[in-house]
């Protein structure tokens, strides 16, 4: 078979990382160009990731660094699942970077751009790595830059949320590290494939304890109930562009890491039943807490918790279709929530308040922004023909395909949460369009650099909602990669 040449996936991590550290140098040379660096970096990543799709669909790409044989080298495993997320990350990174061109006006912009790039580089690292310690390191890169970015504005809310996030996040990392240590102590390896080969399935307490530590550690970043208390604070206090990335990317990356560990390393099927409930409870708590919020960003943050719960539920069904639903829901959540936060950012900028009641009449004053916001809400509730419908549809289908009474009951709960979700999102729509505002200021749209990314997100939401088949093949292979432990093993260990 002819060897296909492709761009080395290491560049997906190396290029943004290098660019991130070029920024401080550039500051002295050509300060105006700084804000374009993230745009360029993630555009590069996006293009490279997309070119890798056809190759990855055939077989996983394994990149070895600093070693010769697989278990002893640090390696990247670019499988469909990792690549899917890396595309989402670079897409969101690229679009949010464009958005930030105009949006970030205050504070030290150099720091913002460095941290922004580091955050997403960490995220790409997490999804592509094939080694649990590297996963930890990339995870810390992601976390530390997000702690700093949450407090970026330096206002009371930002600092308070940032420090709370930091404390909980650090506990999470420590627990994760303990888990990694416990695993390493037993098996003497950190390579995920190697570990997976040695652990057939999680059966003894000596495996469960490290698993619990790792689940708790990653669960904090993945915002699973009851580990998600940092999320509403952090997501609502960060600048909106960062909230978009945190909600759209960071928690999903945490969830992906968790699922990767559960499925590939431990293959803990019996634990999935518990996660099923945890997912539904997370969904319920998130949506219920969002219901009576007056602060729009807090509401969106709680809604993210809910969506994460739905994704956890989908993954915990642990069938191929369930995992496909989970991945699809990840994609749809990234698109929806990023779009919602980006639109909200300029709406807040315009009104100077995060109170929903202050958004009255914005449908007239910022028609396009409001329209994009509306598309985002319709999609997140799951109304056709938007992408949220396709993902919820897949999840329901996967759950009902189990044909168990338990799943019907859980789905009834999910329906209840969707109703609650609908209630609070439709309330915002009414506020935007059907309530008269007091001030008669003229029409003023968001900046054009903000409208373009919003437009692209909205377009993707619509297109993927009508033609979900276009990405289904990719999603199916991502799901089967995550579900099928043995093929992962074979592809890495050879």
């Amino acid at each position: 078979m002819k060897e296909i040449t492709y761009i080395n996936p290491v560049l997906l991590i190396a290029v943004p990382l290098a660019l991130a550290f070029i920024i401080p140098i550039l500051k002295f040379v050509w300060e105006k160009s700084i804000k374009w660096i993230p745009v360029a970096g993630f555009l590069f990543d996006l293009i490279v990731s997309i070119t890798l799709i056809p190759i990855v669909l055939q077989k996983n790409i394994i990149v070895k660094i600093g070693g010769t044989t697989t278990p002893f080298s640090i390696n990247l495993v670019v499988g469909p699942a990792g690549l899917l997320l890396s595309i989402m990350i670079s897409l969101a990174g690229f679009l949010v970077a464009i958005y930030a061109l105009k949006y970030i006006q205050e504070g030290d912009k150099t720091k913002y751009h460095i941290l922004f790039m580091l955050l997403l580089t960490g995220a790409i690292g997490v999804v592509l790595t094939g080694d649990i310690f590297n996963l930890f390191v990339f995870f810390e890169v992601l976390c530390i830059s997000s702690y700093a970015l949450v407090g970026y504005l330096g206002n009371r809310a930002g600092i308070e949320s940032s420090i709370k996030y930091l404390i909980q996040g650090s506990i999470g990392s420590s627990l994760l590290l303990v888990g990694i240590g416990l695993i390493y102590g037993q098996y003497g390896t950190l390579n995920m494939a190697d570990l997976a080969a040695q652990i057939k399935t999680a059966d003894s307490i000596s495996l469960f304890v490290p698993m619990f530590f790792m689940i708790t550690g990653l669960g904090i970043e993945a915002a699973i109930f009851p580990l998600n208390s940092w999320l509403p604070d952090a997501h609502s206090s960060a600048p909106s562009s960062i909230s978009a990335v945190l909600s759209g990317i960071a928690i999903e990356v945490g969830l992906y890491a968790m699922m990767r560990i559960l499925f590939t390393i431990f293959a803990a099927e019996s634990f999935m039943g518990f996660l099923l409930f945890l997912g539904v409870i997370t969904l319920l708590i998130g949506e219920m807490s969002a219901f009576s919020q007056n602060n729009i960003k807090r509401m969106l943050a709680y809604s993210s918790i809910g969506q994460i719960g739905l994704i956890v539920f989908a993954f915990s069904i642990a069938t191929a279709s369930g995992l496909s639903g989970g991945f699809f829901q990840m994609i749809s959540h990234t698109l929806n929530k990023a779009l919602l936060f980006l639109a909200t950012g300029f709406m807040i900028y315009r009104t100077g308040s995060m109170e929903i009641s202050s958004f009255r009449g914005l449908g007239k004053k910022m028609p396009l922004t409001a329209l994009f916001f509306t598309i985002g809400t319709f999609s997140i509730i799951g109304l056709p023909p938007f992408v949220g419908f396709a993902s919820k549809f897949l999840i329901f289908k996967a759950a009902l395909a189990k044909q168990e009474l338990l799943f019907i009951i859980l789905i009834a709960v999910i329906i209840l949460t969707t109703v609650i979700e609908g209630a609070y999102f439709f309330r915002i729509i009414q506020t935007l369009y059907f309530k008269e505002s007091d001030d008669k200021s003229s029409k003023q749209e968001s900046a054009i650099t903000a409208l373009i990314p919003m437009f692209i997100f909205a377009l993707l939401i619509l297109i993927l909602g009508i033609y979900p088949n276009w990405i289904m093949k990719f999603i199916h292979s991502a799901a089967s990669e995550l579900l099928n432990k043995m093929s992962y093993l074979r592809s890495v260990l050879g």
């Binding site: 530390i144 600092i159 308070e160 404390i167 509403p232």
Partner: protein, 119 residues
């Protein structure tokens, strides 16, 4: 005593971890909580080092002619801990700088009194 002798480092490590968690759980003062975090991290680091530790082991460097591999301490945990220490340092630095900003904004470090972000 044998038990204690064999597991003293593990006991110490988990002792530190528990102390760290205890501090985080009960203390209200931000500085104390940061100290707790620090102790927690130290405990974790100690735990990982202990995994690869060997009594009377040598550094895993091929300096002598007749060095057996079972004489060397495991180098991987040391590499891990090195990384973890750096990460811990970064977190600590960030936490302390945030603590300063927090004090500037709220004039207190008592986290029980800083509850603007809730519900």
């Amino acid at each position: 005593m044998d038990f204690l002798y064999n597991y003293i480092y593990y006991i110490g490590a988990f002792g530190l971890i528990l102390i760290g968690l205890y501090i985080l759980l009960v203390k209200h003062n931000l500085i104390k909580m940061i100290i707790g975090l620090s102790i927690l991290e130290t405990g974790v680091n100690l735990f990982i080092i202990t995994l690869g530790y060997l009594d009377n082991g040598t550094a895993p460097i091929f300096s002598k002619e007749n060095l057996e591999s079972n004489m060397m301490v495991d180098p991987v945990p040391q590499a891990l801990v090195l990384t973890a220490i750096v990460i811990g340092l970064a977190v600590l630095a960030l936490a302390l700088s945030l603590a300063i900003r927090l004090y500037d904004s709220f004039k207190t470090l008592n986290l029980k009194k800083i509850k603007e972000q809730k519900w």
